[in-house]
Symmetry: C2
Subunit: 124 residues, 2 copies
DNA sequence: CGGTATCCATAGGGATACTG
DNA sequence: CAGTATCCCTATGGATACCG
């Protein structure tokens, strides 16, 4: 029955939700990419991403660490320095990101190709 | 240099952002799935998704329509009835969703398996 | 039925200052 | 340097009532 199907589908949706929670939001991917690129330190990452505040960066880094996409190490010395690095696990995301990328490209084509017939399409 | 690379990466991120905007959020996929399942009418969709308010559904349907994932048709008669249907374009999302699904499954394994050790983060 | 309009609560984000 | 703490503010969402 329809209801049952819907229940099945929406529970099958849970892992999808998980993934979206992990990489969704305004900053997560930007930060991850910054770290992939080799930025290691808090300020360094912060500077590499315009408009990103320390509070948000701090929170996002914790999330990324909790999801084992990055590691955090505190180095000896003064002033304190920390080092963030991507994990192997984080690299499994690249395929997903590629898929999202491809669909996004294709979606734009779709939206714009149809523009000739319908002017008033407010898009994305 | 690093800055340039980051610019390149983040601009390559735009299509990814587009995709996340299209399917992200709390309700978009639930609504799309409901429609994929054959629910066509406003109330019908609303009832199929617990906790979804009319205001939000209304907005989300507009977004989905703007992104050409669904079509909206107003049927003759009284009271008014509308009919929402999935587009062909919407079906191209299924592959993306599958990818998100698979990663989500895998991610859970990763998170739960790794309690003991910190390194060895190899996953698929 | 298929929505808008309205009011209100809340979470989250920006800016800034501050601590170890 | 690496963050917390604080204040503030707006965007979103729930609940409800109402209109064509």
């Amino acid at each position: 029955m329809k209801k049952k199907e819907h229940k099945e589908c929406t529970s099958a949706l849970l892992p999808v939700r998980d993934t979206l929670d992990v990489i969704g939001g305004k900053w997560k991917l930007l930060i991850l990419i910054s770290i992939w690129e080799g930025n290691k330190h808090f300020r360094e990452i912060e500077r590499s991403i315009p408009k990103l505040s320390t509070k948000v960066l701090s929170k996002e880094l914790k999330d990324l660490e909790a999801n084992q996409l990055i590691t955090r190490a505190v180095l000896n010395g003064f002033p304190v320095r920390t080092e963030y690095k991507p994990t192997q696990h984080s690299k499994t995301l690249k395929k997903v990101i590629l898929e999202l990328h491809n669909w996004g490209i294709n979606h734009r084509k779709q939206i714009f190709s149809d523009k000739s017939e319908k002017d008033n399409l407010s898009v994305v």
